[in-house]
């Protein structure tokens, strides 16, 4: 019961912070909508898509990129959480979290899941707008995608936490944008199917195939159309375990980050 209290306390703080930062919500929503309304409209004309699972017929490019844009929301949200962790560490607010008597893995895990809940709200808001843009997966798909969103959110959030543990100063965060977010997003199946990549460059195809973000996107895509992609699920689970394990190591007082100054 006390553990639940801790989790609910951390989750309600994240939600309160989110509701107090309306700009963050709109920025999170506008970014994928710009891609959907402008980028996808332009690319629809030049990019042909064959029938690829989970789709059972030809789909418009807008339909194809929606799961990728859901992943994009979660990727940016994970990095936003990472940024706020670095900020909290610089201001000292992080210390008050870590001096709680509860285990550090549990505190970090609670913060992680709380951040994912915030990202899921953003994804559903985006899917609601996309519905009016004629991107309409099966109604049950909106429910089926929830576990996929939670899993992919936890993986991307864990990566964000891990990155936050390696960044010493807030100023260094711009590097994360250039070296993590953009390569992860563009070298993935979020915007183009994997077979398209092979046509362009076998190396790029391999990079995209190994990119954990591709698997998060595919997990979301298949779930949205009521299917399960076992490889994507396995990769997401394994990557989550690795990223979160490394984060707990880095935040351990006997090792990692807190040994250094």
């Amino acid at each position: 019961m006390r553990w639940l209290t801790v989790f609910l306390g951390i989750a309600s703080r994240e939600l309160l912070r989110f509701t107090h930062q309306r700009e963050r919500f709109f920025a999170a929503l506008v970014r994928p909508l710009v891609w959907l309304f402008i980028f996808a409209a332009g690319f629809r004309a030049v990019l042909g898509l064959s029938i690829t699972p989970p789709y059972q017929t030809y789909v418009l490019y807008e339909v194809y990129i929606v799961p990728g844009l859901c992943g994009m929301i979660q990727l940016f949200n994970g990095m936003q959480s990472s940024l706020s962790m670095v900020y909290d560490r610089e201001t000292g607010a992080m210390r008050t979290l870590l001096v709680s008597p509860f285990p550090r893995w549990f505190l970090l895990g609670s913060k992680l899941v709380a951040g994912v809940l915030v990202s899921v709200i953003q994804v559903y808001a985006f899917l609601a707008v996309a519905w009016f843009w004629d991107v309409r997966p099966p109604a049950v798909g909106y429910l089926a995608v929830l576990p996929a969103l939670m899993l992919s959110g936890v993986m991307l959030g864990s990566l964000g936490l891990l990155i936050s543990s390696t960044i010493r100063q807030l100023e260094n965060f711009a590097g994360v944008m250039n070296f993590v977010i953009f390569p992860m997003f563009f070298a993935s199946t979020a915007l183009y199917p994997l077979w398209r990549m092979r046509d362009a460059s076998p190396l790029l195809h391999d990079i995209c195939a190994f990119n954990p973000f591709s698997h998060a996107v595919e997990l979301i895509r298949f779930a949205l159309y009521l299917k399960l992609e076992p490889v994507a699920l396995a990769v997401v689970l394994v990557c989550t375990a690795i990223f979160f394990g490394a984060t707990v190591f880095m935040y351990n007082p006997e090792k990692g980050l807190w040994r250094r100054r």
Partner: protein, 230 residues
């Protein structure tokens, strides 16, 4: 049993020694001052007591619980006011205190929130955003936050730094008053004026305990030695 026992504690950052063989006790219900110039090792010591770092060697006990072997029990008895602010400025005082109560597993903290806010004289600011509080009020709110889970020992790192004379007096008076309720305080400062003649004092200098004097002893010589040595 002491509220805090620090025994032969050393810590290094890489090859740089930060603390060397530090030992002292904080008696139950006392207001003990930890005096040292900037860079003396006060914040590092606090980080070890709160287990943000693990000490290279030595032993730290809070209310008899070893911070390495029994961190949960030790941290549950510890309240901390860090040098830098820890309040979320966008949240109200009540929301801030609820969050910190939750971090200690308190499910229904409202009565305790009223109690601690009354202790620090901020009952009328319950619904105020932390951002709207003055510097002195924020410090008092930090003390309320640190007391929310009824700790037996309060650590305060330069808690009066940056406050005007009146606010500094208020904060000191609140913390000194906690002894009557059985809460011990370790007050880290570099300001000699914040120490009363009857306070037990530990002088930390260049990572070592220069003097550990019981209450009521004149400390002028040690203080001058410390400040002149730079």
């Amino acid at each position: 049993m002491s509220a805090l026992r620090v025994e032969n504690v050393s810590h290094r950052f890489g090859r740089i020694p930060a603390l060397e063989d530090v030992s002292f006790d904080v008696p139950k219900g006392s207001f003990t001052a930890l005096l040292g110039v900037n860079g003396a090792g006060k914040t590092t010591l606090f980080s070890l007591i709160t287990r943000l770092y693990d000490s290279t060697s030595g032993r730290i006990e809070v209310a008899g619980f070893d911070i390495r072997r029994q961190p949960r029990q030790a941290l549950a008895r510890l309240g901390v006011v860090f040098q830098s602010r820890a309040l979320d400025l966008d949240l109200t005082l009540r929301q801030n205190l609820r969050y910190h109560a939750a971090l200690h597993g308190l499910a229904r903290p409202d009565a305790r929130i009223d109690q601690v806010l009354a202790m620090v004289g901020l009952s009328d600011r319950l619904h105020a955003k932390a951002r709207t509080l003055s510097g002195g009020q924020q410090r008092r709110a930090e003390i309320a936050r640190a007391l929310i889970h009824e700790p037996t020992l309060l650590l305060l790192d330069e808690a009066a730094a940056g406050l005007d004379a009146a606010s500094r007096r208020d904060v000191l008076s609140i913390v000194r008053g906690l002894g009557a309720q059985g809460v011990s305080a370790l007050w880290a400062t570099h300001v000699f004026d914040e120490i009363a003649p009857d306070d037990p004092v530990v002088i930390l200098h260049k990572g070592r305990v220069l003097a550990h004097r019981p209450a009521g002893t004149d400390l002028t010589t040690e203080f001058l030695e410390m400040t002149c040595a730079g």
